[in-house]
């Protein structure tokens, strides 16, 4: 499991625009870089990030070898209903990690 940092408000007002910040610790090996033995290190990157809110996909990103290590992604959503925010990172070598946080909408 990679270490993940999240900044997600737990409780928000209806209709509030909420900033979501995520960082996942991942080396994002490009596949172009020689290792100590001179052989090119195989590519090992996160390929795709998705965020679903109350079951609907609200944000997604395709990541490429040019993305730096430990990808930091930030996006906003409009809080309408109380529900789970599911964040998922998928990548090379079967990398697949999911973090779920409940967002509570209260007037």
């Amino acid at each position: 499991m990679a270490r993940v940092l999240l900044n997600i408000p737990r409780s928000v007002r209806p209709g509030e625009v909420v900033a979501i910040r995520t960082l996942i610790q991942h080396g994002m090996e490009t596949g172009y870089r020689p290792g100590a033995d001179g052989e090119v290190l195989p590519r090992d990157i996160i390929r795709r990030f998705t965020a679903t809110y109350d079951g609907a996909e609200i944000f997604a990103a395709e990541l490429s070898p040019a993305i730096a290590a430990n990808p930091f992604l930030s996006f906003t959503l409009v809080a309408t209903v109380t529900g789970p925010l599911v964040l998922r990172w998928q990548g090379d070598n079967g990398f697949d990690q999911t973090e779920t946080r409940e967002i509570t909408v209260a007037a």
Binding site: L5, L23, Q25, N70, F72
Partner: protein
């Protein structure tokens, strides 16, 4: 006796004929400016040093002052030796540079004409970079990144802090003055807490993941300050993006960190006169020719020390002093119509991680493809596995280095 043109030029440039010697103005009386002024004068040129302060307060070893290991007085240097050498020292700030007319304007409106100008203005702290951290905030949450009153402020805050308090440090991304400096400071603050306030904690928030002498510092922290010093790199959310002054807290993307003492080292750019003169580019720093340190933007103007974009060379007092001497010889050659010699420059940075525990990194540099590049295989860092005696010897070298470099710069 056969006298070559160059030898003749050397004979003419004796102090007795100083009136006729080409005039060089040096702006900034730190390690770079003072060293350069003295080297230019030794080469027989007429030199004016423009420096607003009558006393210079040196940054190297000021982390030891913060940790209560050294009086600030030992960091202070005057300009009497420069005057005795025949350098005109003007205690005013430069307010303008007219590179076309080769003139510098000073605070009182007077004007200095020059044949060559050296800018050694050091750094300006960017009080626009971290929302909430302006000059007024720095009087509460000190930066202590320009030695003097700020050094004393941080030292007195640490002294006054109750045992059990948290000290928070914010370290910027590259480039900035003294790459290993924040980590030496973290080490010596940790030493202060360990010996004086052992229930306290130090939280070090860094906007990067890799830093100078990292393995040496981290090994020392693990052995000397376990459980006391917590290091949070960029990849663990360490990048400070702002300051909440009322809460005495720094702001990161993933939460706020409050401290009883908060030391914010903000991002930096070249000293203000470099921007006013037009020697700084969009990065805020000054592009230079690596052989002569002449500005890429302003002909006839040279930039040395922290303000310059010196490629692989770090922004250190040692580097500023080395660049000062290379720049002085380049200026002397240019004024005499002689070829500028291709330089080799040396830098060594010593850091103390505790009293009597020194580590170092050294590098040798030469111009290559328009920048100052590391000479591969030259230099290096202290060994990772070394007995305490080696660390103690290096701590002694650090002291000796300080004596040597301050003697070279200030007499």
């Amino acid at each position: 006796m056969k006298v070559t043109r160059r030898a003749l030029a050397g004979l003419l440039a004796t102090p007795a004929l100083a009136q006729a010697a080409p005039a060089v103005v040096v702006i900034g009386g730190g390690f770079g400016g003072a060293s350069c002024a003295r080297a230019l004068r030794r080469n027989g040129l007429a030199v004016t040093l423009v420096e607003p302060n009558a006393t210079y307060t040196a940054c190297p070893f000021s982390n030891a002052v913060i940790a209560g290991l050294r009086p600030l007085q030992r960091q202070r240097f005057g300009y009497d030796a420069l005057r005795a050498q025949g350098i005109a020292v003007v205690h005013q700030a430069a307010t303008g540079v007219d590179a076309a007319a080769r003139r510098v304007t000073l605070t009182d409106g007077s004007v200095l004409a020059y044949d060559r100008l050296v800018l050694a203005p050091g750094i300006t702290l960017r009080f626009d970079a971290l929302p909430g951290y302006d000059e007024a905030a720095a009087s509460v949450l000190p930066h202590a990144w320009q030695a003097g009153a700020q050094t004393e402020l941080l030292r007195s805050q640490l002294d006054a802090m109750e045992d059990g308090g948290t000290v928070v440090m914010a370290i910027p991304a590259n480039p900035y003055r003294c790459p290993p400096g924040p980590y030496e400071r973290a080490s010596l603050i940790a030493h202060f807490l360990k010996t004086r306030k052992p229930r306290s904690k130090l939280l070090v928030l860094d906007a990067k993941d890799v830093f100078s002498k990292q393995r040496l510092f981290e090994a020392a922290w693990a052995s000397l300050y376990p459980g006391l010093l917590e290091y949070v790199p960029l990849s663990a959310g360490g990048r400070v993006t702002g300051v909440d002054l009322a809460a005495r807290a720094v702001v990161t993307e993933f939460g706020n960190h409050a401290g009883a003492v908060v030391n914010v080292i903000p991002p930096q750019r070249a000293g203000e006169i470099a921007r006013i003169a037009g020697a700084a580019d969009r990065s805020g720093w000054c592009p230079i020719d690596p052989g002569s340190f002449e500005s890429r933007l302003l002909p006839g103007v040279h930039v040395i020390g922290d303000a310059a974009i010196a490629g692989a060379m770090p922004k250190s007092a040692f580097a500023a002093n080395a660049q000062a001497r290379v720049c002085a010889d380049a200026i002397t050659a240019l004024l005499r119509g002689a070829p500028v010699p291709e330089p080799r420059l040396l830098n060594t940075c010593y850091s103390l991680v505790a009293p009597g525990y020194g580590i170092s990194v050294a590098g040798v540099y030469r111009p290559a493809e328009g920048v100052l590049a590391d000479i591969p295989g030259a230099g290096g860092t202290s060994p990772l596995d070394a007995p305490a005696s080696v660390r103690e010897v290096e701590a002694g070298y650090a002291e000796d280095w300080f004596e040597t470099i301050t003697a070279d710069a200030f007499g």
